[in-house]
């Protein structure tokens, strides 16, 4: 899984990303389709990487994460146990985070209530800013019976939900970085 091929010099779109996110939806007949969201963060590569890998504080960074605990580390791979607020009830699952230091993180489902799903962060520094790309290839039906009902009725809701989820995730990361910058 890599971000959807954009076919342009990523740095050239930096001024546009100051206005908001750029979303790509995969050209595929299979579902779920991958979505990739591009955003720019007013922070250095190190600041972005520190937040992305600070699993001990994910409950503060992402409001929907109720519990987060590192299960084990194997070199650059980190196994993390999550408890997520899935509207009306919670779900538990383990994810594998493969770190490619300060370049990207590949995330895949290992076990638990999530049946499948692939996620990935790609990080591109540019002067004192960082372009962060978050890609999701997962069905929203994994997380909530309410979403399962919605997506069953309209399968294309998967892409809409994933685009919004990605934007919320990126905004959570931006806010966490801002808070840390203020605290310094």
């Amino acid at each position: 899984m890599s971000p959807i091929d954009s076919g342009f010099d990523i740095k050239s779109i930096l001024p546009l990303l100051n206005k908001g996110e750029l979303g790509f939806i995969e050209d595929s007949k299979q579902r779920p389709k991958q979505v990739s969201l591009f955003t720019v963060i007013e922070a250095t590569l190190d600041e972005v990487w520190d937040v992305l890998t600070d699993y001990e504080h994910y409950t503060e960074i992402f409001p929907s994460v109720l519990e987060c605990k590192i299960a084990k580390r194997e070199g650059d791979t980190v196994f993390v146990d999550y408890k997520l607020d899935a509207v009306l009830y919670s779900i538990k699952y383990r994810l594998k985070h493969d770190h490619y230091p300060k370049k990207r993180i590949d995330i895949s489902v290992v076990s638990g209530d999530l049946k499948s799903g692939e996620y990935r962060y790609d990080i591109h520094p540019f002067e004192n800013k960082t372009i962060l790309i978050y890609s999701i290839k997962a069905s929203a039906t994994n997380t909530s019976f309410l979403l399962r009902r919605i997506v069953k009725k309209q399968p294309t809701m998967d892409e809409a939900i994933n685009i919004s989820t990605a934007i919320i995730t990126l905004n959570n990361i931006k806010e966490a970085i801002k808070r840390r910058q203020k605290e310094r």
């Binding site: 546009l16 206005k19 908001g20 750029l22 939806i25 309209q154 685009i163 919004s164």
Partner: protein, 176 residues
């Protein structure tokens, strides 16, 4: 039978119930910003799956909607954003992005004035404003229909009885 896409923009919180009838056969809807509330998106989804971007007045919706979307459906590459203005400060970068992505169709809004034109093998469509009129122009929306050899852009007047106001057929070999 080709794909049909409903086009709507600048609703500014006003949902015209007659869209249910007009868009009843579309495969999906594109909403090009200045939506005016998540309730409008929900009502559009009740008609058909909806792809939406935020506009300059969608302050709250920016938390869940992107500024730009690029996707491909039925062989057509589509780029959606709210503002396309050659005098706008962002046009330089935006035009570079658009011409590097090489979409077949660009859907946008903001001006409240419908447009269907072609430039450098890209069809630019602004469905106009489907919301409360702030300017002396008709409330409008659009439908794109792809057939084997053409892309038909239709603009509908929503001011009184829904009427086809304007149409233009773009020959597909030049675009897709």
């Amino acid at each position: 039978m080709g794909i049909k896409i409903g086009l709507i923009s600048d609703t500014h919180g006003q949902f015209d119930r007659r869209l249910k009838s007009l868009f009843r056969e579309v495969n999906h809807i594109i909403c090009a910003g200045d939506i005016g509330g998540i309730e409008i998106i929900r009502q559009l989804f009740d008609i058909a799956p909806t792809i939406a971007v935020s506009g300059n007045t969608d302050v709250d919706l920016k938390a869940v909607l992107p500024e730009y979307i690029f996707y491909k459906v039925d062989g057509i590459k589509i780029f959606v954003c709210h503002i396309i203005e050659k005098n706008h400060p962002s046009w330089g970068e935006l035009s570079k992005l658009i011409y590097s992505l090489k979409p077949d169709i660009v859907v946008y809004g903001h001006t409240h004035t419908y447009v269907a034109s072609s430039s450098n093998n890209i069809i630019f469509v602004n469905p106009g404003s489907a919301g409360a009129s702030r300017y002396p122009v008709s409330r409008t929306c659009g439908i794109i229909e792809k057939t084997d050899n053409s892309i038909l852009v239709q603009i509908y007047d929503l001011s009184q009885d829904i009427q086809l106001k304007y149409w233009q057929n773009f020959i597909i070999k030049d675009h897709v």
